[in-house]
């Protein structure tokens, strides 16, 4: 039917394939001006490809797009921007060598005398943009390198806002944000100004509070566009995965606690002061915290990626003070790092190669390693995380984010370490993969393993943790156990609310 003339962006029958893989198949979508439209789908459903098409990074093989009735077919990011369409990418796209101001204005910076770039003018222009979008706290002269992840994400969003005069695409904009008020205010302002917004998130609660309509992608096809208010969570999950599943949240019964596997006493680093706790064999200890409360420092200092300034750590009764992750592995500690793209996967190796990396000596036969040996050795860990064996021989860089994360978890488990440190293991992962990851973690602990897990999503910790610590300002602010692990109480503790502070259920020996 004639969609031309409707204000907003219309995509009709977009198809895109990479070689033999069909990433998108006849996807249709209408973003109305002034509305926030959600895009839902599991990882690998084609969301990223659609985002790339909208923002001019790739061109669809077939299909047509119209923007305010006129044909829209951008070939570069700049053409998309010129048409008023801008994107905040999930894999943050701010070059690390630039300052905040430069990254906002790239590729054309403000010029001073003689047509040369003026750092002062660039910073002034950028400061005005930052102020306009409620981010005056960021110094435009600061290096991107020095910004925490959350600030980079905000900056990425501001840059998109700045260029989006008609359509704004936000791909997982809250992946690194602990607080969403700022973002939601921006989104509502933009919608008020008549901008069409495509909002992609795994967090259904966010979608419910922002969007009226949601389009669901499954296996590269747009299966339905539904009114968010009229659709239950179950209905939406069903559309995403193709079959109804996911019963209500079920906490597992508190497991009898075994001997302490990991014991941390008075651990201190540059960002962490005097942290003590224990994780028993068979236990999942959660760590909840807002951005930058020292959680990263805690995990990284345990495996020797960050220097400790005090305290002792024992693993299975033996003192552990590794200076490198290999040392930590010998002690029986394995870390799943925060950023899978930069700290985790080796994109050019196969998934199997990535999984068996830490156990290479066991895999090799008289010093040589064949792909078939790798696949054999990787099969077992891959099964533990429910990763389909057919993915094992693919380059891991070509897999979806969810499968990459599964492979990383498989690798962490394949090390044979009995204590896992999982840093936000489900970040940017779809609901189906999340379930798989939870199940794998449970099986691991039932086998006598101990898990320390940080998550940026509270409901996740509520679900999976036997006990939960709340970090605030670099120390343990509260501890919850069993049925006391409750979102409401934990949220208060997260923010350092005085009434929410509480000690551990069983007092630890004074040190």
């Amino acid at each position: 039917m004639g969609s031309a003339g409707r204000p907003g962006l219309t995509v009709e029958g977009a198809t895109k394939s990479y070689g033999a893989t069909v990433a998108l198949e006849h996807v249709s979508l209408h973003l109305a001006a002034g509305e926030v439209h959600a895009l839902l789908g599991e990882n690998g459903a084609g969301k990223s490809t659609l985002v790339k098409i909208l923002s001019g990074v790739v061109q669809p093989d077939t299909g047509a797009m119209t923007l305010d009735g006129a044909p829209y077919r951008p070939h570069t990011i700049l053409q998309a921007r010129a048409a008023g369409v801008a994107t905040a990418f999930q894999e943050l796209s701010l070059p690390a060598n630039l300052t905040v101001a430069e990254s906002l204005l790239m590729p054309r910076l403000s010029k001073g005398a003689g047509g040369l770039i003026s750092a002062r003018k660039t910073e002034r222009t950028a400061a005005a943009i930052l102020r306009r979008h409620g981010l005056a706290s960021i110094d435009p002269g600061q290096a991107i390198d020095d910004l925490p992840l959350a600030e980079r994400q905000r900056l990425e969003i501001v840059r998109a806002l700045h260029h989006a005069s008609k359509v704004l695409v936000l791909d997982e904009p809250t992946a690194a944000l602990a607080e969403v008020d700022w973002l939601f205010d921006r989104i509502r302002d933009a919608a008020q100004a008549g901008i069409a917004i495509l909002y992609i998130s795994h967090r259904l609660a966010e979608v419910r509070s922002l969007c009226k309509l949601a389009t669901v992608l499954r296996n590269g096809q747009s299966v339905a566009t539904v009114a968010v208010d009229g659709a239950s969570d179950d209905r939406i999950f069903e559309l995403m995965v193709g079959h109804g599943k996911r019963a209500g949240i079920q906490r597992r019964p508190a497991a009898p606690r075994g001997a302490a596997r990991l014991e941390v006493r008075n651990l201190a680093t540059a960002r962490l002061g005097d942290v003590s706790f224990q994780v028993a064999a068979g236990e999942i200890l959660g760590v909840a915290a807002l951005d930058g409360q020292g959680q990263r420092s805690l995990f990284y200092s345990l495996v020797g990626l960050e220097a400790r300034s005090g305290g002792t750590v024992t693993v299975a009764g033996r003192d552990s003070s590794p200076t490198r992750p290999e040392g930590a592995l010998k002690d029986g500690l394995a870390l799943l790092p925060e950023e899978r793209k930069t700290e985790g996967i080796l994109t050019s190796l196969s998934a199997a190669g990535n999984i068996v990396l830490p156990i290479m000596p066991q895999v090799s036969r008289s010093g040589f390693v064949w792909p078939s040996l790798e696949r054999q050795a990787a099969a077992e860990p891959a099964r533990a995380v429910d990763m389909s064996p057919r993915y094992l021989e693919f380059r891991i860089g070509d897999l979806s984010g969810g499968n990459q994360q599964k492979a990383l978890l498989a690798r962490t488990m394949a090390t044979g370490a009995k204590t896992l440190l999982l840093y936000d293991p489900t970040r940017g992962v779809d609901v189906g993969t999340k379930e798989t990851i939870y199940a794998a973690i449970r099986v691991f602990t039932e086998g006598g393993g101990a898990v320390l897990i940080y998550s940026s999503e509270l409901p996740e910790l509520v679900r999976i943790a036997d006990r939960c610590l709340v970090l605030y300002g670099g120390s343990i602010f509260a501890e919850f156990e069993g049925d006391d692990i409750d979102e409401r109480a934990m949220v208060a503790a997260l923010t350092g609310h005085p009434g929410a502070a509480r000690g551990p259920a069983s007092p630890e020996p004074a040190s």
């Binding site: 796209s93 070059p95 060598n97 590729p107 700022w182």
Partner: protein, 339 residues
């Protein structure tokens, strides 16, 4: 999460972004140009200790003349290295321009200017070929430029099959002379190049060059045309190699079809010594120029210290490695203090 819980969670903002900016001088030092300058001064002091004449205008001019071809070649290479690439064609272009000049000498200042333009044209064409192959056909830069280097060498041998040819007096004398009896002319040419670089750095292309070298994907998603930036880097480098070949001719006063060969490895050594990261995105031309000057000064110092010239290579290599290790350590230290 229910709505009120969300609101609660968001009340106190995350802690403020680390406010400390990296000190500018720290960056300068850590990026290596500072270290190599220091090294140059120390070596010059040594040179002065062993050779009384070291501080005369004549000795300095000699040094600058010796260093100019390498310094200019390294400056050109820097453009490509910054964009995360390698350009081996530098050796071929220098040989080719050298034999062309020696085969077709042109008298007087106008002739010299024409020769210079011709050299730059040759370099520019080679740069275009390299750039097109790397940026648009997506060949690996080492493979593509290895090809053009071999072609240029072959062409040089076709044009002049043995050392010889004629170099005009203006080129061989005036360009290696001093202005007002103090300032070496070749030094002025290098300085002009450095000045031009100062301007280029402050253009969108300059910023894009560093950005492409740092993170190609992020650069592309920020609207930078990666292919165009790469292409221009190779073309710019080619033009500069032309100048290097021109200065090589002035310095050697002869044509030699293999004249450019020794410059291949020394160019990369100078770039690395000057603090430019061979993996792209960090460094600059000034560092490479000083790096080249340091390598050549080292030869002189060893000579005046009575060390056999057979040992020169060993010393150059050791200095290169030590300087890079030292600058790494220093930048770690500065980073560590910042955190």
């Amino acid at each position: 999460m229910s709505a009120d819980v969300t609101a609660l969670a968001s009340r106190p903002a995350d802690p403020p972004a680390s406010a400390a900016r990296r000190p500018r001088w720290g960056r300068r030092l850590a990026n290596g140009a500072g270290i190599v300058t220091l090294l140059y001064l120390i070596l010059y002091a040594l040179y002065g200790l062993w050779d009384r004449g070291a501080f005369s205008a004549y000795a300095f001019t000699n040094l600058v003349n010796n260093a100019a071809p390498l310094a200019i070649a390294a400056a050109g290479e820097t453009l490509v290295v910054l964009s995360r690439g390698f350009d081996l064609s530098v050796a071929g272009v220098m040989s080719l321009t050298n034999v062309v000049m020696a085969t077709y000498p042109m008298e007087g200042p106008q002739g010299a200017l024409l020769s210079l333009l011709m050299c730059m044209a040759i370099g520019g064409v080679v740069g275009c070929v390299n750039g097109a192959a790397v940026a648009y056909l997506r060949l690996q830069s080492i493979a593509a430029t290895l090809g053009t280097m071999i072609i240029c060498r072959g062409l040089s041998l076709v044009i002049l099959d043995a050392p010889g040819g004629t170099v005009t007096d203006f080129v061989s004398n005036t360009l290696t002379d001093q202005l007002f009896g103090v300032i070496p002319v070749s030094g002025l040419i290098v300085a002009a190049l450095a000045g031009l670089w100062g301007l280029v750095r402050r253009t969108d292309f300059g910023v894009a060059l560093y950005t492409v070298g740092t993170d190609e994907t992020a650069a592309a998603l920020s609207g930078v045309s990666v292919a165009r930036t790469r292409f221009l880097a190779f073309v710019g480098a080619g033009l500069v190699y032309g100048v290097a070949g021109f200065m090589l001719t002035a310095q050697t006063a002869t044509g030699n079809p293999n004249g450019g060969n020794p410059f291949l490895m020394l160019t990369f050594a100078a770039v690395a010594l000057g603090g430019t990261s061979l993996s792209g995105g960090r460094g600059g031309m000034i560092g490479s120029i000083v790096g080249a000057a340091t390598l050549m000064l080292l030869q002189k110092v060893l000579f005046s210290g009575g060390v056999s010239s057979f040992y020169t290579g060993i010393f150059q290599g050791v200095v290169l490695v030590v300087a890079i290790v030292f600058s790494r350590a220093l930048s770690r230290l500065l980073d560590g203090r910042r955190r």
